[in-house]
Amino acid sequence: MSSPANSLCGFLASSIGRKWIVAFTGLILVGFIAGHLTGNLLVFAGQDALNAYAAFLHNFLHGGAIWIARCVLLGSVVAHIYFTILLTRANRAAREQRYAVEVTQKASSGSKWMILSGLLILTFVIFHLLHYTVRVGAGFQDLPLDSEGHFDVYRMLILGFSNVWVSTFYVISIAMLSWHLSHGVSSMFQTLGISTPNTRQLFDRIALGFSVLTFAGYTSIPLAVLTGWVA
Amino acid sequence: MATEPDQMAAHSASQEIPMTMNSAIPEGPMAEKWTRHKMASKLINPKNKRKYKVIVVGSGLAGGSAAASLSELGYQVECFCYQDSPRRAHSIAAQGGINAAKNYQNDGDSVHRLFYDTVKGGDFRSREANVHRLAEVSVDIIDQCVAQGVPFAREYGGLLANRSFGGAQVSRTFYARGQTGQQLLLGAYSALCKEIEHGNVTMHPRTEMLDLVVVDGQAKGIICRNLKTGAITRHAADAVCLATGGYGNVFFLSTNAMGCNVMAAFRAHRRGALFSNPCYTQIHPTCIPRSGDYQSKLTLMSESLRNDGRVWVPKNKEDSQKAPGDIPEEDRDYYLERKYPSFGNLAPRDISSRAAKEVCDEGRGVGPEVGGVRQGVYLDFAEAINQFGQATIEERYGNLFEMYQRITGESPYELPMRIYPAVHYTMGGLWVDYNLMSNLPGLHVLGEANFSDHGANRLGASALMQGLADGYFVAPATLPNYLATQKPGSVTTDHAAFEEAEKAVTERLEKLLSIQGDRSVDSFHREVGLLCWDNCGMERTKEGLEDALAKIPKIREEFWSNVRVPKSGVSSFNPELEKAGRVADFIDFAELMCIDALHREESCGGHFRAEHQYTEEDQKDGLGEVGEAKRNDENFAYVAGWEHTGDPSHPRLHKENLEFEEVKLAVRSYK
């Protein structure tokens, strides 16, 4: 009988095992996307609500929670990408010669461009982290603290999205993310083995609904800023 | 004369073999013979079993199941098939089902009844003891297949479902939708894969047996060609099992797969094995007719269609080319209803087949003209659709109608179907004794390749039963009777007989490639096949057979001087070369078949000689119904065993007389 460690290596070396990792890390990231969106939408509840929420995140478990979350998310992103690279390389190797005529019968457009959309999302994530988390050269460090003495996330957000170029890039990236999710979420149900013939349609709708909500929710913020709805 | 290079070599080998047709039927009452025989059979110590090597050629129901079962017993097995995988053997195409005397339906079935029906269905030309054994092991087959995971049809209670098939009075047929053969084959294939994985079976796919190696009168190996690389290889063993299927493709057009061929059996015949009853061929009345000269094969459709369809052709030849809808009711000839009012459209297979041929020969056939004749009759569902509604008909035959439409482009809901008979099974084969061993010791023959169980005609759903019976249960029990007399590994591929056989094979291939004539292999196959179909098909006459026998040697001569096989070499993938070898044997075999048909001056089962049928007067005298096959039990109640003499035109006849202890000889009547 093999040891669990041996078996785990076997699992991670197998096609289904690797896909399972991609799906599972995807699930974690989907959870983050949902949570992050919910939090960000507090911008519509006003300056105090959003800043209090941000402060809560930073202080929860004496500031430990956010680091745990960051580690899990970073780990997930790295694993998601690493195993995708392994799988993609194997996929390329499995079809050395391509067809002269290539026809798609069933695959969705989102599913066909997962690598491209994924790479764009990665670029965006790096920019987004530098922009709002590390706050490189955007002048956010100079913002005064809010009335509660918290860092003023609300004003940072408005200041950030007031730049049309930033907002445009943001909207395009969110579109990519939603496109990625339209295949990714339904695919996740398939790979994790959750879907059944009876629930398949439901899961496909959930995936579609989630992508639409993601797009609508996230893009509403820069649009609200640019239109002056949130100021 | 242009002929095969190895003709004389094969002949000299056959000279040394003493010719016996000892059926080795065990003593005792019919119902106890098999049990007694198993008890009396030799056993081989488990430790010694693995020293014996057995070659199995063919991986269909018979070959696949035999290879797996022999391997489970501990023998080393080498299994060969020409397909790219053992899963593709033509057993896969069987649609209907498999019989077994389980009596799950409580309708009075029993081993004895299945035995009786099979002997009677075979028109009293099979060996009783073999048939009884077949009926006995039929029940074990179902258990075995279910345990392998074969998804047979089930009832709502979760137990196995049965249906009545081919006019049987009892429901004893197990089925898996319309794909029973496929599912049974996949069961045998999975067992075979398990044994390959365990290392006891070495599988050789895309490998074709080109000759049998006979050492001191005993079968000790085969010569093969790896179809992928063209390499010629020698394989020695302590015994050889042929499970290479039937020879229906001698007719060029049949329901067999394109690759089905008689080569392995015929090569064994040339090496001394007796070929039995080649004239027993079975015609299926409801196949899709030819649509043109390019037609490569025929597709069978379930006979159940005749339950609701009415068969007709126009009364007048001139109407043959009209659209069916333009032919008024009064100008239609419902010939089966007219000629056989008691059977109507459900007249027995052979009778309705011959009736179709008759009206087409009169020029009243329908559909496209192929080679100057219209070979097709209408099977019309218009009335049934009117009576029961399209929904009911769709429920009954939807998938068949769909298949028909896919092939012909016509919807049977709108236009009457066109059907015509086609060859789909061959009852003849290499002669075997009760142990399934041919007259060549060590050469065992299983499944459709042997002659043993179906007599002159096979009952529906019995082919699958026989293949699996031979492979799972009979051969594994009887093979030790031969093996125990042999010292394992006594012959190796260094033996002079292998040298000689390989040389003959190589010379033959080189000869085929060297001709570089003007005609393709297929053109010869088509020519000899259509000649057989016309003259040795569903109705045979002395004149027709003599005509064929005059023409076949000429076809052979032209083949060996004017065939063109692409010269891409012996040593590479060359499907035309494969076909050339097979067609060369089909030509010789066609001659043997016609000789057998000519010599058998009677009609029985699938062999119908126009000269021997019941007349109006016979019917009045109560002897038999008009048009029915008239057997001649006095002179022909024997198995013909043809010995190759070196001259394919003059084989030597041997006879095994058939004795009937249990079943009384009677005239067939399905009234």
């Binding site: 009988m1 078996s7 076997g10 070396a13 197998s14 096609s15 799988l87 194997a90 996929n91 499995a94 079809r95 010669q97 005529v101 019968q105 069933k106 339904s186 398939q190 790979t191 083995g193 013939p197 | 489970e72 790219d84 995988s85 899963r87 593709r88 033509h90 896969i92 075995q144 279910v146 345990a147 392998q148 995971g149 998804p151 089930r154 898996a176 794909q179 496929q182 999975s190 894969c193 599988m203 796919p205 992928k228 797969a257 394109m258 649509s291 390019y294 094969k297 080319q321 559909g367 092939i407 012909t408 482009g409 016509e410 249960f473 393709s520 053109s523 692409p566 891409s568 993938f573 035309e576």
Partner: protein, 260 residues
């Protein structure tokens, strides 16, 4: 369609056929002008006609795989205008007829392309990788003669029917050919699923799921990216849900084997 007069309608086609001498040859397309192709011929009969003409011209005929020509043996293949088994749904190449094409059409004919299915010659490919997957566990280990009475284990009809849906697979490899990753998941899932869903198959369920997937990976097939091109190409319309089940049973098998 055959006209009532019995004269078949004829097509004039341009064929672009892949020719390749052997597994190591690079391969290329050859244009063949194909006049006089009857619409009532099957696709493979069309190739027969072409080969007959090539032989007549002293040229090497096109090698392609075929056997039963009635859609059940799974030996025929071909990617026709980019679609495995051609344009008709739930139809193998041997059952595809020329009436599905129009006069003047150009038809690209390519072999099933996958590293695990090396080309033997022209359009013929070696699919023995599928056999290796079955050897990995696609069986129930029951010795001949050791089987219990068949009706001892009732199997609910829906379970038996579902198992049959999976068992309908003919092992042609169209799923691999159609998948952009040349993944064999639909085949493996159908074969494993049939046995995993039946009571007889429970004893070896864990070993089967692990073994078959391992054999699949070893053979060099790609990975499923859940695009279901396989389902669209499958001539027997095997459902993608078998892949879901395989994902589930493989993960469960891994968990059972390593954790319990």
């Amino acid at each position: 369609m055959v006209s009532i007069k019995g004269q078949p309608n004829l097509l004039h086609l341009t064929l672009k056929i892949w020719r390749q001498d052997g597994p190591d040859d690079k391969g290329h397309f050859v244009d063949i002008d194909a006049p006089g192709i009857p619409t009532s011929a099957s696709f493979l009969e069309m190739l027969d006609i072409i080969n007959e003409r090539l032989i007549g011209e002293g040229k090497d005929p096109v090698a392609f795989d075929h056997d039963c020509r009635e859609g059940i043996c799974g030996m025929c293949s071909l990617v026709i205008n980019g679609v495995a088994h051609g344009p008709e749904k739930a139809t193998t190449t041997c059952q595809l007829h020329m009436r599905s094409f129009k006069d003047g059409d150009t038809i690209h004919i390519e072999p099933f392309r996958a590293k695990a299915f090396p080309v033997i010659k022209d359009l013929a490919v070696d699919r023995s990788a599928f056999d290796s997957i079955i050897r990995g566990g696609g069986y129930i280990s029951v010795r001949t003669g050791a089987a219990p009475e068949a009706n001892n284990t009732p199997i609910p009809k829906p379970v038996a029917d579902a198992a049959f849906d999976a068992a309908a697979c003919i092992g042609c490899g169209a799923c691999v050919a159609a998948c952009k990753n040349a993944s064999a998941m639909l085949f493996v899932a159908a074969k494993a699923g049939q046995l995993n869903s039946l009571p007889q198959g429970q004893a070896e369920r864990t070993a089967r799921s692990l073994g078959m997937v391992q054999a699949m990976d070893k053979a060099g097939f790609g990975n499923c990216t859940n695009q279901y091109e396989c389902e669209a190409a499958c001539p027997k319309e095997i459902d993608r849900s078998w892949i879901t089940r395989l994902n589930r049973s493989y993960t469960a098998a891994f968990a059972r084997k390593s954790l319990l």
